[in-house]
Symmetry: C2
Subunit: 209 residues, 2 copies
């Protein structure tokens, strides 16, 4: 009931931090129970095995991720009716949120799962795949709303452009973590924002003379 959920959440919190620093293969159940202050039996009461822990971890991460994007972009839509302006504002808000993270972005569970694929079952791989497809749909939807109003200045595929948001985020996380430069990720999001802006906004032509 209530208490069980709390313990489960605590295990997931500890596991998430560990997995993002050491991957699934590098994270031992023994260390998780040591840090959580629970016994081995207690752990296996909540999760049948490591695979089920991973499943719960991934699902929770995806849900949280979706919630954050929902919040950011609905806030952006509240501030302007223009689809382009609200998308650009959303990217700005996202970059601010990322640069406000005290120790930089801790890492993405989707990427961690991606680099551990072979040891997970089909269900986890499908969940991961669907998470990325959901990103594509989310950003694709917003971009299609823009395309209806603004002409594209270069012939680009909208889904590929939507994927670029995910690419830059995933890649930016890897760069930020590897370089130990927390701000790199936020900067990359702003670079992407510049790209979107250029793709849709008319160029200001200075009058001659």
């Amino acid at each position: 009931m209530r208490k069980g959920e709390e313990t489960r959440t605590r295990i997931l919190d500890v596991a998430e931090a560990a997995v993002l620093q050491k991957g699934f293969g590098g994270t031992s159940i023994e260390e998780l129970i040591a840090e959580t202050g629970i016994t081995k039996s207690g752990f296996f009461y909540h999760f049948r095995d490591k695979n089920e822990l991973a499943k719960a971890l991934l699902n929770r991460y995806i849900e949280n991720d979706e919630r954050i994007y929902d919040e950011i972009f609905s806030r952006a839509r509240d501030l302007t009716d223009d689809p382009l302006q609200s998308f650009l504002l959303g990217l700005k808000l996202l970059s601010e949120l990322l640069s406000d993270l005290p120790n930089g972005h801790p890492g993405c569970i989707v990427a961690t799962v991606c680099y551990y694929e072979r040891l997970f079952d089909r269900e986890i791989q499908e969940t991961n795949r669907n998470a990325v497809l959901a990103w594509r749909r989310r950003f694709g939807r917003m971009l299609r709303d823009i395309v209806e109003v603004y002409p594209l200045r270069e012939p680009v595929d909208v889904d590929q452009l939507a994927d670029m948001v995910s690419s830059v985020l995933e890649g930016g996380i890897v760069l930020s973590k590897t370089l130990k430069e927390p701000n790199t990720l936020a900067e990359q999001v702003l670079m992407l924002r510049t790209f979107v802006k250029m793709l849709f906004l008319p160029v200001v032509v200075m009058p001659r003379g």
Copy 2:
């Protein structure tokens, strides 16, 4: 001598494929020696421990990576003297090379190391950091050559733009692997190419009337 190097290379080949599919923590030495057809003692003759295997793996990957970029962009420079055109051509060649990979990109060791950081020593982390910084310098150098000739149409930081090449590659690999869509990575590189093109090339203004 000759024989030793050959065995060492075989171990590294097997290890690289395994690590890219399962991460370092998920790859066991036992499975490596089974697939290589060597004994455990033989393995530890070549590598003192897993950390040293990782070191060799990472260094070899980085060297190979650098070699590929050297080839591609020097080939691009051979075909045109214009720094922008050669950079754009290089990105085109890179995307073609990536889409020609039969099973898609197998993954990046730099990213794998990034998501296993805490279990490696400082030396490996520094090597990894330097690899990313080398990418920044490489693409930054090329972009600075462009900036000398072409005006930037938006005020962007050249190093951040250089980082975007790495971001899109790393992120594109994650997307491609997760989606099991080998072509996504190549498409992302071409999207980036469009961005660079827009940033530097003058917009064609159609005459009115």
